[in-house]
């Protein structure tokens, strides 16, 4: 059984959870510019695809970052462009804006221990359920997990890396216009 969490670790987890929920609020309230501010300048935002492979070859399940294709492989520059595109008012796939809700749960600090409290970087795993409802009756749900690396910059948490693992093989939606 895992050691009991120390008070500091618990407080850190609460702080991180709060950060992730606040982030979800920014996305769901279409406050994309403020959301961009939560990302470090060198952020990597990567969503590999998942292949159906033999259970003995699970190492081949995920498409490899920078070598194979992925749903997303973004840096801050391209994420900024995506936000700018939404703001043009003629990005038809998001005009009018979709109604999006992010559920974030199962938040757990990875490789955390008392020594990690106060560290400059921390990895956190969470589950997401993202719901998009659009125009009258278009409705999509994406479920999966994320592994984030958070970095403390000037006393504030920022996301320096987000790995998005979507539980789909053939994407069951017509496009991906929102952030995870």
């Amino acid at each position: 059984m895992a050691d009991l969490l120390s008070h500091e670790e618990l407080m850190l987890r609460l702080e991180i959870e709060d950060f992730l929920y606040m982030e979800a609020d920014l996305l769901d309230e279409h406050r994309y510019e403020e959301w961009l501010d939560l990302l470090t300048h060198d952020v990597r935002y990567h969503a590999p695809m998942k292949r159906n492979v033999s259970s003995k070859e699970m190492d081949k399940e995920l498409t490899r970052e920078a070598v194979e294709m992925s749903w997303f492989d973004e840096g801050k520059d391209t994420l900024e462009k995506r936000v700018a595109q939404i703001r043009t008012g003629v990005h038809w796939a998001e005009e009018p804006l979709s109604r999006v809700t992010h559920f974030v749960s199962n938040v757990r600090l990875l490789d955390s221990g008392s020594d990690k409290v106060g560290a400059g970087e921390i990895r956190v795993k969470s589950r997401f359920l993202v719901h998009r409802n659009r125009l009258e009756d278009e409705d999509n749900t994406w479920i999966g997990n994320r592994i984030d690396t958070l970095r403390r910059v000037d006393g504030e948490w920022k996301i320096s890396r987000r790995e998005i693992y979507l539980d789909q093989n053939v994407l069951l939606s017509k496009n991906l216009t929102n952030f995870f």
Partner: protein, 461 residues
């Protein structure tokens, strides 16, 4: 050539440039398409680079049905239906792998990498009278064209070369190495697949040149580049396609293949003003270097820029191949293959993958907006009132293809870059194939046979 019935002419009227919305919604027409179009045409099922070694396999699709694309011990590519001959179970459940046997998970009928039935439980005593050779997985005819793998169920279909009707000249350019040498391309790992609520034909005919400025306006505004990352040109240059310095035409073939073609002219592509490549200098310098070799190999032909859509459901965008797989009248599964030069430095491949991810596929800044429109036109065409209204494909209807095939010494029927000629040609061919009883009836009138002159005049080399 088949004479279209009045009912078929009501659906597709090339003379008046109209198409009935029914062909995108009607279930009976859809069922007929599966038989007449998908069971008889040559279909793209993958690329050799995806299965380099004996025993390698990937899944592909032919119409609604799954096929296994496999390299046998004989090193040849085999394509067979992924449906067990015993009780119909799916035999292979993986997207890719390496195996010389495919064991059905129901009763264990076992097929080899060529699709032949090689073992089955209780064979002795149980199936004494059965001739195993008759019970292999259903084989498709296969042809490999510059590494790309094509298959058809139709034994009476013409060869793939004949099926291309002269467009092989263009198709080959996309499958080459950037330096113009043959078989130098590979598919990046990860075929991007997604479902889109529209009829499979909607994204098929190339080129819808007039949609870009409005559909992709947000890409131009936010990214300062055109739909594929090329620089946005001022309005007065409209007769020249966005991002192109040379004249571009809509080119079609009676066989239903459609594409945009840029007339080759001396002079280098504007590497310096190449929009997105300036943000990816490793790619820009790589392309610049390889283009010099391409010119040495191909002469003027090196400058040819083209993305052919091969009838019925294959389309190119740059070095990206999209296949529109039908999934019912109003649902399509798009599979996208992204090509790079096999021997390109990893840095170049990575930047290209990154470029593809930004512009193409369901997350692509460009394609997101295409999908929005394709889906919305499907919804808005569904009602009984809308269904009775024909769609308009009349742009430059009064102009016969501007230049016959001989004008540029290149195959195909050339029309103005901004014209619906490709759509008219595509749907005319669709109507012919839907109605024709056999390939004799389907034989198109030959109008595009000038390739030889072009090559003979020394332009090709």
């Amino acid at each position: 050539m088949v004479q279209l019935t009045s009912e078929m002419k009501r659906l597709v009227d090339s003379e008046s440039g109209t198409v009935s919305r029914e062909i995108f919604w009607n279930q009976d027409l859809y069922d007929q398409e599966m038989e007449q179009v998908f069971n008889r045409s040559w279909l793209f099922v993958g690329h050799e680079s995806q299965i380099p070694n004996a025993g390698d396999y990937i899944l592909g699709r032919m119409g609604e049905e799954a096929v296994i694309v496999s390299r046998g011990r004989d090193e040849k590519v085999h394509v067979f239906l992924n449906s067990c001959r015993h009780r119909g179970n799916r035999v292979c459940r993986y997207d890719q792998g390496n195996s010389f046997t495919h064991v059905c998970s129901f009763h264990g009928w076992t097929y080899d990498a060529t699709g032949a039935l090689v073992a089955l439980p209780y064979h002795e005593n149980g199936y004494d009278l059965m001739d195993k050779s008759q019970w292999g997985l259903l084989q498709a005819r296969v042809e490999v064209f510059h590494g790309s793998i094509w298959a058809t169920w139709d034994k009476s279909a013409p060869s793939f070369h004949e099926y291309l009707g002269g467009s092989d000249f263009y198709l080959a350019t996309g499958l080459m190495h950037t330096d113009g040498s043959d078989n130098g391309a590979e598919v990046l790992g990860g075929v991007v697949k997604w479902r889109l609520g529209c009829n499979w034909k909607v994204p098929c005919p190339d080129t819808d040149t007039t949609h870009g400025w409005i559909t992709h306006r947000s890409t131009a505004l936010a990214l300062g580049v055109g739909a594929t990352g090329n620089p946005v040109r001022p309005r007065e240059d409209r007769s020249i396609s966005v991002g192109q310095t040379r004249s571009r035409y809509t080119v079609s073939f009676p066989e239903g293949h459609t594409m945009g073609v840029t007339i080759p002219e001396e002079g280098d592509p504007g590497w310096e003003e190449s929009g997105t490549w300036n943000e990816r200098p490793a790619v820009r310098e790589y392309l610049r270097e390889k283009f010099e070799e391409r010119k040495k190999r191909l002469g003027l032909m090196a400058h040819l820029s083209v993305g052919p859509a091969i009838f019925p459901n294959e389309g190119w965008l740059g070095r990206v191949v999209r296949i529109m797989h039908p999934q019912g009248p109003a649902m399509t599964e798009i599979w996208t293959y992204f090509f790079v030069d096999k021997d390109a430095p990893q840095e170049v491949k990575t930047e290209l993958a990154n470029y593809y991810e930004l512009y193409y596929g369901p997350g692509g800044v460009t394609q997101q907006d295409d999908m929005e429109n394709w889906y919305a036109l499907t919804i808005a065409s569904k009602g009984p009132v809308a269904q009775k209204l024909d769609l308009n494909y009349q742009m430059r209807l009064s102009e016969p293809p501007l230049h016959g095939p001989t004008e540029f010494g290149m195959p195909g029927l050339f029309a103005h870059n901004y014209s619906d000629e490709n759509h008219r040609r595509y749907y005319q061919r669709w109507a012919e194939v839907m109605q024709a009883k056999d390939w004799g009836e389907m034989a198109p009138t030959k109008a595009a046979a000038a390739k030889d002159d072009w090559m003979k005049n020394g332009n090709g080399r």
